[in-house]
């Protein structure tokens, strides 16, 4: 259908539209008009993605000079692919309606692991191996060697692309990962480099957060994206953690040991080269004097070594003299390394800020702040000069150099914590240096600064106002849309007590209580008898789940559950869990029914949807608070309190509730879907917890369902399920259209 969104003609590839989609587009258009940022929350399953795409594409078509590019960031590979497929649907619809052939170029970009078509390289299993192998075939000096020595293997796909791929633009169309691979195979070009090159002139780019948020990658991949782009972060409820992760560094003794060997290798290589090819080192020296703004011919392929800080500030300056020659630099690194080793030889926990650390390092080993800042860049240059083939091994020294640069660049927002042992095993010495980022706005700041509109959206962003605060930006629109339902297809229930009236809670003091564990077990048992097909249960942490499962096993609860359904359990091994997941789906599919026991914050809770019969009920055992005893978390909470005036408790609750909402939201993926959401902890009934759930869940949480016993829950669930099992008639959707007409009047 065609829509009139405040004068903008929007093609929408469906015959009907949900009212909330319409309002979503309206808000989005206002954001784009204002060239500002927006925070939009809309429940999953209401067609957020297609609304976003429809509107922004229409905007791009209507005002090609205002918005040149859409950068769509999502979280996981399947989600990226889904977005591209929805886009394809939209573009097909455009072509059908207007009769004009699509002239848009849209593509997905992913890591080499997902795009490589080189027969040898692509057969490797881990992303890191693929990257390393790829590099050993495509690095600039390898290719230079190939010229003189044809027996040196190179990647023919990259050569082919390098020779012709840049001149011939990729024809307009929608390219998913597989389409890129197909295209690459047909042409004999490397799909990965093709995609990386093509994003510069593509109208729509779909890739993962990291390409924009992780400065190590963003610098190379996304540096040249136009300012007039619209950036969308979908599923952005965890965006602060992504930001923090990309800026934090952990150094263990093992890292230092490996770094030590790296240094030795470097030293040997330098002395060897000095004998054979001293000119090369002199050339490098000259280049460093001129500054780092070198012509980056080889830069494209050498991405694994880029600078973790935002380069513009440094690239103007020349590398300081003290680390300009190779030997001096290696000596410098050695000193730094020794210092770190000394710091790790401690017996008590140390926490300090970056300036304190810098002061200490200056006093102890006379290392200045300035050369530290250039560490990462200097190492990059050195490794390239030395033409070290097997570069993957140098991850340790790279990590150290990144740490050096980060610690000397940012005086605020970071903390250094040195722990001599893990809390749980105080007898085993395992010193770790955490250099932890506490301010997510540091990583995302350049994104907000550079692009004209940044949209942050997800199904669960409540409470909305906290995101602008922790990410430090000023949105022009903030809106939360609820789900209009023809029938109440979600049923949130808060179970607070067992039948014996013992309170159910995962509170730390009572979580080992036998009665609580037994009541949790009874809840699951009762539900397994009445819920059809799949049930997903989430625990607050992996260890907690292990303990509960063990005691359920001893009490024979699991055996009773098995009478009703098969049981699958998430493990810490991803491959094993994948298998369990698949079997779980199989069991739901063939009517046996199954239960999946899983963990909040785990991979399952973040990336896997349980549509329709794969999840008829979700049970959240306990409130998924983060492990509060961790020092890193404590430091972060303190920082949040001091800098953003966010109270510790507020943040912890917010964090727990967004994860709980994520977990229970896994089961409802559309309006034809239905599912029970059971919050099994009496603390959910409190206003401060309840109020932080997304609006679309809160709305259906009646006062009568706040502190139920197991029996009451079973009764309510039975009633709900019986109602939902009635055939869903489509008549109701018809009203949406007329409703839309009403909307249009306004």
């Amino acid at each position: 259908m065609k829509l009139n969104i405040e004068g903008l003609l929007v093609y929408f590839p469906y015959d009907y539209i949900y009212p909330e989609q319409y309002s979503y587009m309206l808000e989005l258009k206002r954001t784009l008009d204002a060239k500002g940022h927006g925070v939009l929350e809309m429940p999953s399953g209401t067609g957020k993605t297609i609304s976003l795409l429809s509107l922004i594409v229409a905007y791009q078509k209507a005002y090609p000079l205002e918005v040149t590019k859409l950068v769509y960031c999502s979280r996981t590979v399947p989600e990226i692919e889904k977005v591209v497929e929805e886009l394809r649907k939209l573009m097909d619809y455009y072509a059908k309606q207007t009769g004009v052939k699509n002239d848009f170029l849209a593509l997905a970009l992913s890591s080499r692991k997902n795009l490589c078509i080189h027969p040898e390289v692509s057969s490797l299993r881990f992303g890191k191996e693929v990257d390393g192998k790829c590099h050993s075939l495509t690095a600039s000096y390898i290719r230079a060697q190939h010229h003189s020595n044809p027996s040196q293997p190179v990647c023919q796909f990259f050569e082919e692309f390098d020779a012709v791929g840049r001149q011939v633009p990729i024809p307009p169309g929608i390219y998913n990962l597989d389409d890129l691979k197909d295209f690459g195979r047909r042409k004999g070009w490397c799909p990965y480099f093709l995609a990386r090159y093509a994003i510069l002139h593509a109208n729509i780019v779909v890739y993962s957060y990291h390409y924009l948020l992780d400065p190590k990658i963003a610098d190379l991949v996304s540096k040249e994206l136009a300012k007039k782009s619209v950036v969308v972060f979908d599923e952005a409820h965890n965006i602060d953690n992504v930001c923090i992760d990309s800026m934090s560094v952990n150094i263990t003794r093992r890292t230092l040991d490996r770094c030590q060997t790296n240094v030795e290798t470097l030293q040997n290589t330098i002395s060897r080269i000095k004998e054979t090819d001293a000119a090369k080192l002199r050339e490098e020296y000259r280049r460093l004097v001129e500054g780092l703004k070198e012509a980056n011919v080889a830069r494209e392929t050498d991405i694994y070594l880029s600078n973790p800080v935002l380069p513009d500030e440094i690239l103007q300056e020349a590398v300081p003299g003290s680390i300009r020659t190779a030997e001096h630099f290696v000596g410098f690194i050695k000193r730094f390394l020794e210092y770190l080793k000394a710091r790790l030889r401690i017996h008590h926990v140390v926490q300090e800020s970056a300036p304190q650390f810098l002061k200490d390092i200056y006093e102890k080993v006379c290392i200045d702040r300035k050369p530290l800042r250039f560490c990462a860049e200097r190492l990059r240059s050195l490794l390239r000069t030395l033409e070290i083939a097997d570069i993957a091994d140098f991850s340790a020294i790279t990590l150290i150099s990144h740490f050096a640069t980060l610690v000397s660049t940012y005086s605020k927002g970071f903390t250094i914590i040195i722990e001599p042992f893990e809390d749980r095993t105080p007898t085993i010495a395992n010193p770790v240096l955490h250099f932890s980022c506490m301010d997510p706005s540091i990583a995302i700041k350049p994104v907000f600064g550079r692009f004209q509109s940044v949209i942050i959206t997800s199904g669960t962003l409540s409470p909305l106002d906290i995101y602008p605060r922790i990410l430090d930006f000023r949105p022009v629109t903030m809106a939360s849309f609820t789900m209009t339902l023809a029938r109440t297809c979600l049923c949130p229930l808060i179970v607070g007590r067992g039948n014996d009236q013992v309170a159910m809670t995962s509170k730390f003091e009572t979580r080992e209580d036998f009665a609580v564990i037994r009541n949790y077990g009874n809840l699951l048992l009762e539900m397994s008898a009445i819920v059809p097909d799949g049930i997903v249960a989430f625990f607050t942490s992996y260890i907690y789940m292990e303990n509960i499962v063990a005691s359920w096993y001893e009490q024979g609860i699991l055996e009773n559950i098995q009478r009703n359904k098969l049981i699958f359990i998430e493990t810490q091994d991803a491959a094993e869990t994948s298998m369990a997941l698949e079997k779980y789906q199989e069991a739901c599919e063939n009517g046996r029914g199954a239960i999946l026991l899983s963990v909040a914050r785990g991979k399952v809770s973040e990336g896997i949807d349980f549509v329709h019969h794969f999840g008829r009920a979700v049970i959240m055992f306990g409130v998924p608070y983060v492990y509060t005893q961790s020092r890193i978390l404590k430091a972060r909470l303190e920082y949040l309190r001091d800098q953003f005036q966010i109270r510790e408790n507020d943040f912890l609750t917010f964090d727990a509730m967004r994860h709980a909402a994520q977990c229970v939201g896994r089961a409802i993926r559309g309006k034809t879907d239905y599912g029970l959401m059971i919050f099994a902890d009496k603390r959910y009934a409190r206003a401060d917890k309840r109020g932080k759930l997304p609006r679309w869940i809160q709305e259906h949480l009646t006062d009568g369902s706040l502190n139920l016993t197991i029996d009451e829950t079973v009764q309510l669930s039975k009633h709900f399920l019986r109602q939902m099992a009635q055939p869903f008639r489509r008549v109701t959707t018809r009203t949406f259209l007329s409703l839309f007409n009403d909307l249009n009047q306004a």
Binding site: L566, E582, R592, G607, N744
Partner: protein, 550 residues
């Protein structure tokens, strides 16, 4: 006599039927009764025909047993052998009780099938009422060509009998009981043993190896229950345990399952993450060097339990699917043989595409066009598209005119540009639409009133029923042509008379009814025409046959 060769299961003397003394015989397939002194049976029912038996209450003077047949008839036997009458009757009852269910299934299947069809298909039911109940055609005729359609597919589904799955809790069902003197008793049934074997093939193998040469069956199971294999949370003590090997094999099986990877890319957690953080980055405290050494014993056993449950569930699932899966799931086989190597991309692609498509559908937003239709399968499409052309003179626009007008409209549509900022307000638009709809301001003059506005609904419904009934009869009639066998000749004559009967019993009353209501007679016109066409065809055929005969 044929019955002589039958096996006689029970003979009861002195049974009266219709006040006649006689003997009751229960044979392998039927029950029969013959009067005293005579050599033949006057009553004989196949078990398959019997719906149920009834007996007289105990206190009653007459000791009777009544058989009720599917047709609704019944036969009553009176046991009159004085003292043993009750015993005789009970023996008969018992035996019948055993025999009847065996035959019931066979007989009822067809009946059930018919019943089901009638219940599921209201049109068919109406037809049945119109034709069979009103005795236009007989039930056999009615079903004759209906069932044949179904039996084919039905027999197909019947042949592959569904395998019974395994209860997930079969191990839990063997709850040990203390026997009072410091021992445990496990109750094993053959079902449970079967379940164990099917779920854990390695145990079956062990059983085959050791029983009975090394161990007795009892010893085998005793050891099984003692083994750590059964109690998976106990850590292996390293004793001489024949099941330790099983555990190892299971481990191996689990590993291979894991390395094989998953077929559905949407649930593959390994592929989920696009770019993992490099080692050393991030805040998440990775379980550093998770050696089993620094894990406590308890943690180890906990994770063993978890592993065990996953494995157990997977095995139970697989045991249930093993047979059904084998022929149908070829696609999965190909992809599983080459595991997760990149070459399998080609196999994976379709599945991945399908899953992606599935996940982006919003079927409630789709228009009605999305409803599934049955594809028209034409053998000669040209005949369909030209069809029988009515030879009525009508004014046609030439095809050129049509093409021209279409192209003009197309042209206009193409150049149509909505001016979105100056659109009509929706109030105005909706009033325009009402004005233009039938019955609206602008649509009052012209417009034919359709049948559903003219005729009351009850008449409409009746007309519809008549149409379906007539259609069914005509279908039977026309299906006889070309008449080339004597059977068909018979049938066509019968069908013709059926049609005539239909016209007399059904159409006439209806005609009178609409006459009484002063409705236009044209309603019936088409029905009559169809019947006339059939009659004239019959006439032609008959005269031709007469001519051939003479």
């Amino acid at each position: 006599m044929a019955s002589l060769s039958e096996e006689v299961l029970l003979v009861v003397k002195r049974v009266r039927q219709r006040k006649q003394d006689g003997t009751l015989y229960l044979m392998a397939e039927r029950i029969a009764w013959g009067p005293e002194g005579k050599d033949r049976f006057t009553v004989s029912h196949l078990y398959a025909d019997i719906r149920c038996q009834k007996i007289s209450p105990d206190g009653k003077a007459k000791i009777q047993l009544q058989l009720i047949l599917h047709t609704g008839e019944s036969t009553t036997f009176h046991f009159s052998n004085g003292s043993t009458a009750l015993k005789d009757r009970d023996a008969t009852k018992e035996l019948l009780q055993q025999l009847l269910p065996k035959f019931k299934k066979k007989a009822n299947k067809e009946l059930e099938e018919k019943n089901r069809m009638l219940q599921e298909d209201p049109v068919l039911f109406q037809l049945y009422k119109d034709l069979v109940v009103s005795q236009v055609i007989s039930a056999e005729e009615f079903w004759a060509n209906r069932l044949s359609l179904n039996t084919v597919e039905h027999s197909l589904s019947n042949n592959s009998k569904q395998e019974v799955g395994i209860s997930a809790a079969f191990l839990a069902d063997i709850r040990p009981q203390t026997d009072g003197c410091n021992g445990l008793r496990y109750n094993l049934t053959s079902d449970i043993i079967e379940s164990i074997f099917r779920t854990y093939p390695t145990v079956k193998q062990k059983y085959a190896e050791n029983v009975p040469h090394n161990l007795t069956e009892k010893e085998f199971w005793t050891r099984f229950f003692q083994s750590h294999y059964f109690h998976r949370d106990r850590i292996s003590t390293g004793q001489q345990d024949i099941f330790s090997e099983c555990a190892k094999q299971d481990e191996k099986g689990l590993k291979s399952m894991v390395t094989q990877g998953v077929k559905n890319p949407m649930v593959d957690l390994l592929l989920l993450e696009d770019k993992t953080l490099d080692e050393g980055y991030g805040t998440a405290t990775v379980p550093t060097t998770s050696n089993s050494s620094n894990k406590s014993l308890r943690e180890n056993s906990n994770s063993a339990i978890i592993k065990r449950f996953n494995h157990h569930s997977a095995m139970v699932l697989a045991a249930g699917l093993r047979k059904a899966d084998a022929p149908s799931d070829q696609a999965s086989e190909t992809s599983s043989t080459d595991g997760n190597s990149r070459d399998s991309d080609f196999f994976q692609l379709p599945l991945k595409k399908v899953k992606l498509q599935e996940s982006i559908e919003y079927d409630d937003l789709q228009g009605d066009s999305g409803r599934k239709t049955i594809a028209l399968n034409l053998k000669k499409s040209d005949r369909y598209s030209h069809g029988p052309i009515p030879l009525q003179s009508q004014h046609y626009t030439t095809s050129q005119d049509i093409i021209n007008s279409i192209s003009i409209i197309q042209h206009e549509m193409r150049n149509y540009k909505p001016r979105l900022t100056q659109v009509m307000s929706s109030n105005a638009a909706s009033s325009a639409i009402t004005a233009l709809s039938p019955g609206g301001l602008l649509m009052q003059g012209g417009g034919q009133q359709t049948i559903n506005q003219l005729v009351p609904t009850d008449v409409q419904i009746e007309l519809k029923h008549l149409y379906t009934a007539a259609g069914e009869l005509l279908r039977h009639f026309w299906s006889c042509f070309p008449v080339n066998t004597p059977f068909l000749e018979d049938k066509v004559v019968k069908m013709k008379s059926n049609l005539e009967r239909f016209q007399v019993t059904k159409l006439r009353p209806f005609q009178e009814k609409i006459q009484r209501q002063y409705l236009s007679m044209t309603l019936m016109g088409h029905l009559e025409e169809m019947l006339q066409a059939a009659y004239s065809k019959f006439q032609v055929w008959q005269t031709r046959r007469m001519m051939r005969k003479t």
